[in-house]
Symmetry: C2
């Protein structure tokens, strides 16, 4: 159980429109994107909630990827549905509709298998719920969480309480600034580390990602993608690759291990944007992952 | 002369305001930023124009860096003066005043030393002038140029004629798109390469830089800087480090050489933003350059 990752987050149906087409009620949600990515490296157990309309083929799809769904509760009603649209530059998503449905009543309940997991990823949900999950855990050796601007403005005290107990935090640049009031990313990250986390991963879209870990600062580029089809879930896919790799490593606090995790996160998220929903990540072969990883790492190995 | 770089561009006095302070009539201009950076790697000769007001200490400063100023013409009148302001995010410069002064009448004239240089960098000036310079050259083994949105809209035919004879082009993302009408950077770069250049360097500010060279695509991150004071000239400083390194190398078309050049460009530009004008780059020690280069390259060497 030491290497097993428990992920708690949303399971959703996404209707997304981009310049390259659209998708209707496709498989989505932070826990799903995370799991499909992380499960390529480590065993994953999901905790989440769906409605009675959640398609059986999606359950089977997740099962084929060896993702444990015992923690997926089915509640009367409909599954969380997000409908959104991206501009040509993919920088901003315009939300057309957010139907929380059963997700509104999500109360994560962990069984003994869940609470025994060595690694925990708290996807972007209400920090009150994230804390409730953490309270139910045994002694995980690695805890990471994601959050968003909405919770930083609405529930900052609760989020701050959570951060005290978290090892790694995933944020974007704006959230980093919002959380600290500091514009400079390096300074902002240092301030956040004083709030609890040992490490911060700042997701920067096509500008790559930055890692702050203890005294280290690392900036890595995105893997150049010729055709970005749908960026939905790219951040959770990054987190999945990152956490999946860390969970499988004997010592996740080793900086070389963390640097490799950043690269796997980058590579997995580069796949995720190449098609709608989980189409690309859900069907990746091991060879595709390892060859893109090699290409990415070799290009940066400047001799 | 094989390794000597000729740079043709502006020599200016810059009055810049940022959140960290302001500077008045400080040393600036594309040819100056380029030269101070490039001269750390290869001999540099400048061609440009200044007015009678151009301060003697600035001439001495450039001389101490072994930059040949024989090609700096002094015309009656005042030196090119740019006055601008940056917002907190340093993304956009607001021009308060552009006084072209003697720069308006700039007609680059090369002597036999200039035309015998092995490497040519055409900084961002009117493409008609860039072409006139190229016509006066002997047989340079490496020609690179910079340009800007203004020339792409106003003098595209002339720019396209120039590009046919250029090995490397420096642009930013917007210019890349504007030049081709293609939004995706990779596709846009490929289209530009069909116009002539073997390589394109896309400068992306704090998102780093991308290189397209023949079939290779390389994205490198910026070196994280804690306190950005003034981004003026960062692009030319990048080009200077890049071209300076290439000029000194026995075979500039070797992709490993080009990757190192990208890193030196990144490192030099990371210094340039740390202080106003040329304060930082003009006073760098060899040790500072090599230790930041090592730090940058080592961090990206993911094992």
């Amino acid at each position: 159980m030491k290497n097993t990752i428990l992920v708690v987050g949303s399971v959703a149906l996404d209707s997304v429109q981009t310049i390259h087409g659209r998708t209707k009620r496709a498989l989505g949600g932070s826990a799903v994107h995370f799991s499909l990515s992380a499960s390529r490296f480590s065993p994953v157990q999901m905790v989440g909630v769906v409605g009675e309309d959640f398609p059986a083929p999606f359950r089977r799809f997740l099962k084929r990827r060896n993702i444990c769904q015992k923690g997926i509760e089915v509640l009367p009603g409909k599954t969380f549905h997000w409908k959104g649209k991206y501009d040509r530059d993919f920088k901003n998503a315009t939300t057309i509709a957010t139907e929380l449905n059963v997700f509104q009543h999500f109360q994560p309940r962990l069984n003994s298998e869940h609470s025994g997991c060595g690694v925990l990823f708290l996807a972007n949900i209400d920090p009150d719920l994230q804390r409730k999950v953490l309270d139910q855990m045994g002694k995980p050796r690695l805890v990471a969480c994601d959050t968003m601007n909405y919770w930083i403005s609405l529930k900052k005290p609760s989020l701050l309480k959570l951060l005290r107990k978290v090892d790694m935090l995933f944020v974007n640049e704006e959230e980093c600034r919002q959380l600290t009031g500091e514009y400079n990313l390096i300074k902002a990250a240092r301030l956040i580390m004083k709030m609890g986390p040992k490490g911060i991963i700042v997701k920067r879209g096509d500008a790559g990602a930055m890692l702050f870990f203890k005294d280290n600062v690392l900036s890595v580029p995105a893997h150049p993608i010729e055709k970005v089809v749908d960026p939905t879930g790219a951040g959770d896919t990054f987190a999945g690759g990152f956490m999946g790799y860390l969970a499988a490593a004997p010592d996740w606090k080793n900086f070389n291990v963390i640097r490799r995790a950043m690269s796997y996160g980058t590579v997995m998220s580069s796949f995720s944007v190449e098609d709608f929903s989980v189409k690309r990540v859900g069907r990746l072969s091991k060879g595709e992952i390892s060859s893109r990883y090699k290409k990415y790492v070799d290009a940066l190995n400047i001799k």
